[in-house]
């Protein structure tokens, strides 16, 4: 039962996440990579800025990893999130899950990213040509 939580202003590394999720009893690994898209609702995005409530975000990510290990038959999960300013193609989040069987790996990985987006206190500001907006903040 292993979990690895990481929150950093430095670029995230897929290999690091994968190494963590790997193990000889695994038959399957599922890796989710979030990337900065070049557009939202048809408007061109130039960059993103992520800020967070760091201590609470770490706690919430740790809870998600713990729940994933409880609810699914997985052997390890890594949840890495980046903060600060990101450009198109950069990686804000990586979730890597290792399991004996693929069903659990997929389910746990999807659960983790879905829950992260609901509960972890991280906020994304999108920068467009003509302004900037905190995502989802206003109706």
């Amino acid at each position: 039962m292993k979990k690895n939580i990481h929150l950093s202003a430095e670029p995230l590394e897929i290999g690091t996440c994968r190494d963590f999720a790997s193990g000889n009893s695994n038959g399957a690994e599922c890796i989710f990579i979030g990337t900065v898209r070049n557009a939202t609702d048809g408007r061109t995005v130039h960059q993103l800025h992520f800020e967070c409530y760091e201590s609470m975000a770490m706690k919430e990510m740790d809870k998600i990893a713990g729940k994933a290990l409880e609810q699914f038959e997985i052997s390890a999960i890594a949840i890495h999130h980046r903060i600060g300013t990101l450009a198109i193609g950069d990686i804000p989040v990586i979730i890597a899950v290792g399991a004996a069987h693929r069903g659990a790996a997929f389910s746990a990985c999807q659960f983790a990213i879905d829950t992260l987006k609901e509960s972890v206190p991280i906020w994304k500001k999108e920068f467009f040509e003509d302004g900037e907006v905190w995502v989802s903040a206003h109706p």
Binding site: Y53, L116, K117, P121, W123, K124
Partner: protein, 78 residues
């Protein structure tokens, strides 16, 4: 009480941190009413959650002077 302010809420209040008086009835609900009175623009947010000492709080939770409260506008990580 120390209040931490993030994201869109910070743009409204203009500060990262506030010292805010403990409500007479020291529930999270009363705190919300008081902070909304002080900064009515907060009502324009899609939603506003509160954390007390780094945990999401409910309306009925009781606040103490040494608690750290945080204003949590809709999160958008990932």
């Amino acid at each position: 009480m120390k209040v931490l302010i993030f994201g869109a809420a910070r743009d409204i209040i203009g500060k990262r941190e506030l010292d805010f008086p403990l409500p007479t009835n020291p529930s999270v609900k009363s705190f919300r009413e008081n902070i909304f009175k002080e900064f009515p623009e907060l009502k324009k947010l899609n939603a506003l959650a509160f954390a007390v000492n780094e945990e999401y709080a409910n309306d009925d939770d009781v606040l103490k002077n040494q608690d750290v409260v945080a204003l949590i506008p809709p999160v958008s990580g990932g």
